[in-house]
């Protein structure tokens, strides 16, 4: 009986110890898939920015043609 108690106490101790050693990462966000929302938001912003820069690029292209540069 005593031995069983000792084992249980030992297990609890090791659990607590491992919980403290464990390094906190955003695992919850990954497991419930909310991280994909973050990725989608970032990609949307990135795509929007690139489209914007690309449109400026085209506008400058037109200007260059008007001014016959290159």
């Amino acid at each position: 009986m005593n031995r069983l108690l000792l084992i249980i106490v030992g297990l609890c101790c090791s659990f607590i110890a491992s919980a403290q050693d464990k390094i906190e990462m955003a695992d919850v966000m990954r497991s419930n898939g909310k991280i994909y929302t973050v990725v989608a938001v970032c990609l949307t912003i990135l795509t929007g920015l690139f489209i914007y820069v690309f449109m400026i690029d085209r506008k400058i292209n037109k200007l260059e043609k008007e001014h016959s540069i290159k």
């Binding site: 390094i23 990462m25 955003a26 990725v39 990609l43 690029d57 400058i60 260059e64 540069i69």
Partner: protein, 233 residues
């Protein structure tokens, strides 16, 4: 059109990869850093991009002094300008990162963070480049402006290395690569950076830098249109 603009598309694809893989792939689990280790793909890349843009600017300043072609002066200025933009973005993202790692988790005092040599060095470097634009703005004579600012740009580039690479490594820094820590050359050392992270980190550097170069070329082309009468012919 695609033939000429392939690197712009490459930049977009690399950055899409950076965000997707950078947020989703596994990273080493380290205390204090936790998930913020992913900032390597964003914050550190700003500084790499800045360095590369400043190197390009430096090369064009040297070229200008060699042949006094006004076009090279325009190139040098605009690459330096976008380099500064990247530097400022690197600084701002660094502030956010400091807040959660050094200040909160590592319990550094605000004083020790403010004494951090790399922060001071980067601030000095950016201010030196800031003075480059002040200097340019103060000339009315175009030739003199181009000539003096090209010489100044070379000086600014020479100051960049001691202030952000050499001094922080000598006097000790909270950044990786400080004396005492065993990381010799963080980010580029094979032993220092996890292999999986390198798979995202290097493409990220290329992607961000190409975006910077793209923005710089847009600014250059506008300047060339504006100064059509002065340049060549």
């Amino acid at each position: 059109m695609v033939y000429k603009n392939w690197w712009k598309i490459l930049s977009f694809l690399l950055l899409v990869y950076t965000i997707t893989a950078g947020l989703l792939l596994d990273v080493p689990k380290l205390p204090i850093l936790n998930e913020t280790i992913r900032n390597l793909y964003f914050h550190v890349c700003m500084w790499f991009g800045m360095m590369i843009l400043f190197i390009i600017s430096f090369v064009y300043s040297v070229k200008y002094l060699k042949d006094f072609n006004y076009r090279h002066d325009v190139y040098a200025t605009n690459f330096a300008a976008v380099g500064c933009l990247f530097g400022i973005l690197g600084y701002l993202t660094g502030v956010l990162w400091v807040n959660v790692t050094w200040l909160t988790d590592q319990r550094q005092s605000l004083g020790s963070v403010l004494k951090e040599p790399k922060l001071i060095g980067a601030a000095i470097a950016l201010l030196i480049y800031g003075a480059y634009f002040v200097l340019r703005g103060s000339f009315t004579d175009i030739d003199k402006r181009a000539r003096v600012s090209a010489v100044y740009n070379i000086f600014a580039f020479a100051m960049l290395f001691p202030s952000i690479w050499i001094i922080p490594r000598i006097v000790g820094s909270l950044h990786p690569g400080a004396p005492g820590s065993d990381s010799g050359n963080p980010a580029l050392d094979r032993k220092d950076l996890d292999g999986a992270m390198r798979m995202v980190f290097y493409p990220a550097i290329i992607g961000w830098t190409l975006l910077g170069v793209w923005i710089a070329t847009l600014k250059i082309r506008i300047d060339l249109i504006k100064n059509k009468n002065i340049i060549n012919e």
